[in-house]
Amino acid sequence: MTTSLEECRKMASGYGMVPVVKRVPAGGHTVEDLAEMARSLSKQVYVMDHTVDTGKEIRWERYAVIGFAPALEFSCTDGVMTVAQGGTRISYPCKDPSRVLAGVLAAHKAPYAAGMPPFTGGLAGYFAYEYIKYAEPEIQWEEANPEQFKDMDLFFFDRLFVLDRQQQEILLIVNIATDHLEENYRKALFTLGEMENMLEEAPRDGVPPFAITGSFQPMFQLQDYIRMVEQARKDIRKGETCQIVLSNAVTAPAQGSLLSAYRVLRKKDPTRYMCYFSSDDAECAIASPEATITLQQGQLYMNPLAGTAARGKTKEEDLKNERELLADQKSLDEHNMLVDDARNEFGAVCDFDSIGIRDYLKVVRCARVMHIGTTVTGRLRSDKTALDVIDMTVPAGVVSGSPKIHGCELINAIEKNRRGIYGSTLGQISLTGDADFCVFIHSAFLKNGKVTVRSGGGIVIDSVPEEEHQECLNKAMAMEGALYEASALDKGGAEK
């Protein structure tokens, strides 16, 4: 069942692109299988999947996106934009990468079509923690970048695979330009045929096995971290900031692909955002509980999670931990600040009288920790796009500070290094304008021959340094476990 040329003609008026979709039975194909296929064929891969906690069970949501071998890749580092197309790269100075991306999306705008998944093509990847420096050029922080983190890395997909669990189908999607529609449509049919063949014939064995080849070392030792927390408390006491998020990391030498770690995460304790991203310089396995921006037909959502407690070993203990978390003044203060910050960020890009909150103080659960959450909503102004929202919200308040700009400066003065992928905002902006992004937390990245799990906690005046140090360790535990398991599994596979 494929979109007809007639349907394309009807949709095309006023748009740069339209999606041609072919639906085929899912057969035995799963997200894991499609991801393996993608990674075997290309080093540039994007997988976005979601679960929802219904209260009774964790359920995978209807659609999962798998994209690879993008038509274009946009990356920007320290004011230099690089655009890659196949093997060709051009680089040029760029002060406002968001405007470049907005231009790309505007030129390829596609209509909403009935029965389509939220993402049918568009931009996918991450805006790094340091991306704020383009919106706020006066920010004062260290420029050194020994790990060579990019400030943003986004694929432009004109074709995608989307798994539809409800219909048990795979949607093969090719977006075509609306000029020369008939000719482009015929080419698309051919491409769709190739994509369908890939499902059965493309190899799945091109994924390098993952191996951790040394032990995990912390970025900051306990005594250093205590000093860092004390410095943060001093800054808060002086009124320099209301709160800041400090982080620690564990890093181990590693090789291969993080895809198997992603598969382990999916099996063990899947959380809201289950994503995988692979580019030339880094791979990421994401199990993030936190949406940073969701934009659906002009309606904007954010779900700040701040305030953390450990999961209980029994149901009774779990509920007790939840009650204590919701009664903890420090956690409530931390959380309330971020709700007002989210409202403020929306305030710059939403219509008057459209901003509201719901599910105030609803606890969200992950594998090892639980967080206090609230959902903030608003209607995006008609003259604003997802990129304007990105400019206002990156890095997310839950990994930076309140107030944000000076909070970032204080964090940098204490941590003295770039966070890069940690605390980045990862997700997609569809050609329709819709967007879906999560915060890069509870996640791992593999870069420069090392795998890193970085995690943080909000420091407020009442913070106890040893407890903050432990909170970071707790948050990293689930990911470390998944990485060891993936390493063991791939080793076992290799030895067969």
């Binding site: 808060i236 006491r237 002086k238 009124g239 320099e240 900031t241 209301c242 709160q243 003044q329 409530l332 203060d333 931390e334 959380h335 309330n336 600040m337 709700v339 007002d340 910050d341 409202r343 403020n344 960020e345 929306f346 305030g347 710059a348 939403c350 008057f352 009288d353 901003i355 909150i357 309140s402 107030p403 944000k404 700009i405 000076h406 407020v460 005046i461």
Partner: protein, 189 residues
Amino acid sequence: MIALIDNYDGCVFNLFQLIGHYRRDIRIIRNDRMTVAELQALQPDHIVISGGGSQPEATGMVREMIRTLTGQVPILGICLGYRALLSAYGASMSYLDEIMQGRASQISLATDCPLFKGLPGEIQGMRYHSMTVPEKEIPEGFRIIARASDGEVMGVQAGNSSTFGIQFHPESFLTPEGSRIMKNFLDLD
């Protein structure tokens, strides 16, 4: 036109939205991007001064603006804006014993004050501050119009003028009566 002075890193867009329920002609002006004379030339009919992450000494043209325009244009300073108002007339700041960051307090109001017209005698108000103006520092001629349950001064009026300052945040989601306060302010001329 409402001039909304942005003191950097405060929740200026929450104020923008709060005002925007009543008036759409709002101009956001960063505190160091315009002189007082340039602002005067724009002829704002109301001025609102946002909170921010710095000290009164570092609020650009704010304090001079307050001294120049008090009596000519209604002015409302919030949090840092409140402290800048008092600082403009000589008050010194000090640190709170217990920092209030993201904490709502019960605040009693002088309901005969035009800023609090129609409000109950006590409301909930959100606080984000480490610094305060101790009561003894409040300059002569200022009337205290609001006080928190911990005793801290939460609001002042400069004499009988339409210049007001409030320490708490009417634009926060935990100040339910905040919109009413802004309406009262915008109704003044």
